[in-house]
């Protein structure tokens, strides 16, 4: 009955390559001597690059496979590129960092690749089963990566916390999927939406199921009140992992949220809007307010990451409104991209200052950076400005796009909360700038080629692309969700 269809593989070709490469690399790594694990990194990067090449090469194609369980469309391409890029940048950050910190182990890179595969799969998922699989495929390696700083207690603690809470959240997702299945008799998004249409008013079972799924992904993207793992895990995990996690996991989480809710649950819009509204508002508020009190830069950036999840959630409020949702999705994707570039840059700077013994992570350690490393400080300033949403950075452009979608959706008060909280955020971002330029100190920094390349490219992109955002806008707005 089941026949092999080459088209099935074709639809997930970059993923297949990635997974295959990861498996092979796991073996190859055995033969790479300790101390030269850089080769593993480079090979992993190659794998990611090939996969990215394939994705880009097939950018225009639209298709599906495995009886519609996975799809390939603009949305998945956009996210796949974003995620693969994050993987590459993660490797660039980890390359010297892991060695410097004494955590260099070859399996790091294949594990990272597995996680990337999960994220890419998530972007393509069109069936709740695949969603679940992708969720686990991206999460389980992340648990390991978070604990990769073992035997440092922070890292292990981060790993276990992430693992326990992640699994806990997965429980909700699974139960949610169960209830949705129970309500509609389907796990494929298309069938769910058909069943919902047939149903007329959504049954409570469906609503609860959808809500539980939302909780699970809310956890992944670190929405309040499911965010509490974030600061601890971000702080404890090796910084390179944190950077990757902050972008990749968030991207995957939003990929799932957007695709599942926009395509499968548009009819729940009326019921869920207040919930998402509250989640977004709370996330922006709590994230920004608590960030003010942070002294540890990793924790601060963690809260910042929570806050930015809140901003993206704003766009998500309009998921069921067919008039504006295309724009909403595009703006969310664009904002994800902006956040990815900026946040990688910021984490790279953090890595440049981090010491083996864990010093260099307090904000006060940044004092005098403006004098000692003008370029590095300038780059950090750019990132902070971008996170605040000031020109001349992508952050402002991202906010422009995002807020337009929110206003277009009629959620003006949510937009007001959004801008007001971004005002609050200015305070703690500026504090970093203040410390770098207006306080005296002797920061110790590290110069590593890949690291330097990462932050300088990120800074350059943040500034330059802000003047030329048209292509990015077009790309994001072309990333339309499709369902087969």
């Amino acid at each position: 009955m089941m026949q092999f269809d080459p088209n099935d593989l074709n639809s997930i070709l970059p993923l297949v390559v990635l997974l295959g490469w990861a498996c092979v690399l796991l073996l190859v790594d055995l033969f790479i001597p300790k101390g030269r694990k850089g080769w593993t990194a480079i090979l992993a990067a190659f794998g990611l690059a090939i996969s990215m090449g394939l994705t880009l090469g097939r950018a225009g194609q639209i298709g599906s496979g495995f009886r519609g369980m996975v799809v390939q469309d603009g949305f998945s391409t956009f996210l796949a590129v974003l995620i693969l890029g994050s993987g590459l940048l993660g490797i660039a950050l980890a390359y010297d960092y892991m060695r410097r910190m004494g955590w260099e182990r070859g399996e790091f890179y294949p594990i990272l690749m597995f996680s990337v595969s999960g994220m890419v799969l998530m972007a393509q998922a069109a069936d709740l089963i695949v969603v679940f699989l992708a969720l686990e495929l991206l999460s389980i390696p992340l648990y390991v990566l978070a604990a990769f700083g073992s035997p440092r207690p922070d890292s292990e603690e981060a790993g276990l916390k992430y693992f326990l809470l992640g699994a806990f959240a997965t429980g909700f997702v699974v139960y949610g999927i169960t209830l949705v299945y129970g309500a509609t008799g389907a796990t494929a998004l298309r069938e769910i939406v058909d069943a919902t249409f047939a149903m007329g008013t959504p049954s409570p079972l469906l609503l609860i199921g959808a809500a539980l799924i939302m909780v699970g992904f809310g956890f992944k993207v670190a929405a309040v009140p499911f965010h509490m793992w974030t600061p601890d895990v971000y702080q404890g995990a090796p910084t390179a992992v944190t950077a990757f996690m902050a972008v990749g996991a968030k991207a995957a989480g939003f990929a799932a949220l957007l695709r599942v809710f926009v395509l499968a649950f548009p009819l729940l819009q009326a019921d869920l809007v207040p919930v998402i509204w509250a989640l977004a508002a709370l996330t922006m508020l709590v994230g920004n307010v608590i960030a003010i009190a942070q002294t540890n830069i990793k924790r601060m950036l963690a809260y910042s990451s929570i806050a930015h999840a809140g901003y993206i959630l704003m766009a998500f409020v309009a998921f069921g409104d067919s008039a504006v949702r295309a724009d909403a999705v595009a703006s969310a994707l664009f904002y994800l991209l902006v956040y990815a570039i900026t946040s990688f840059g910021a984490w790279a700077v953090v890595i440049a200052l981090e010491k083996k013994d864990g010093r260099g992570l307090e904000i006060t350690d940044y004092a005098g950076l403006g004098r000692k490393r003008p370029a590095l400080a300038a780059a950090m300033t750019v990132f902070m400005l971008s996170l605040t949403g000031m020109p001349p950075t992508l952050g402002l452009i991202g906010k422009f796009y995002l807020f337009r979608a929110v206003i277009d959706a009629g959620q003006i008060w949510l937009a007001v909360i959004g801008v007001l909280t971004s005002l609050i955020s200015a305070y703690y971002y500026l504090r970093v700038v203040v410390t770098m330029y207006m306080r005296e100190g002797e920061p110790e920094t590290t110069r590593e080629p890949w690291l330097d390349l990462t932050w300088s490219l990120a800074a350059l992109a943040t500034v330059v692309l802000s003047f030329l955002p048209a292509a990015l806008f077009a790309w994001a707005s072309g990333a339309i969700l499709r369902l087969f």
């Binding site: 604990a147 207690p153 292990e156 603690e157 276990l160 699974v174 299945y181």
Partner: protein, 109 residues
Amino acid sequence: MDLGIPLTHYLLVSAILFTMGALGVLIRRNALIVFMSIELMLNAANLAFVAFARSFEQTTGQPVFTGQLFVFFVIAVAAAEVAVGLALIVAIFRTKQTIDVDQLSSMKG
């Protein structure tokens, strides 16, 4: 193989199991038991899944595999999780000599 047990009963048991699991996560401090509670939550879902699948089978009169399929996936994935989770717990135990989750609070605020 209709046992004559209505769907709602399965669902009730499943809900009770799920709640027990969730509460277990909240109440127990031993990482292993916390983990087991999570497994309980997953299995509660599995139970509901199978029950749903059976019930659809009865209403439509056709075999429905989706539910069972999903359950297999969940079981398999849970197994993978166990592998990773236990490894983490072991690592923690080595460092801290405890698997009490309340001892894992060096980072906060």
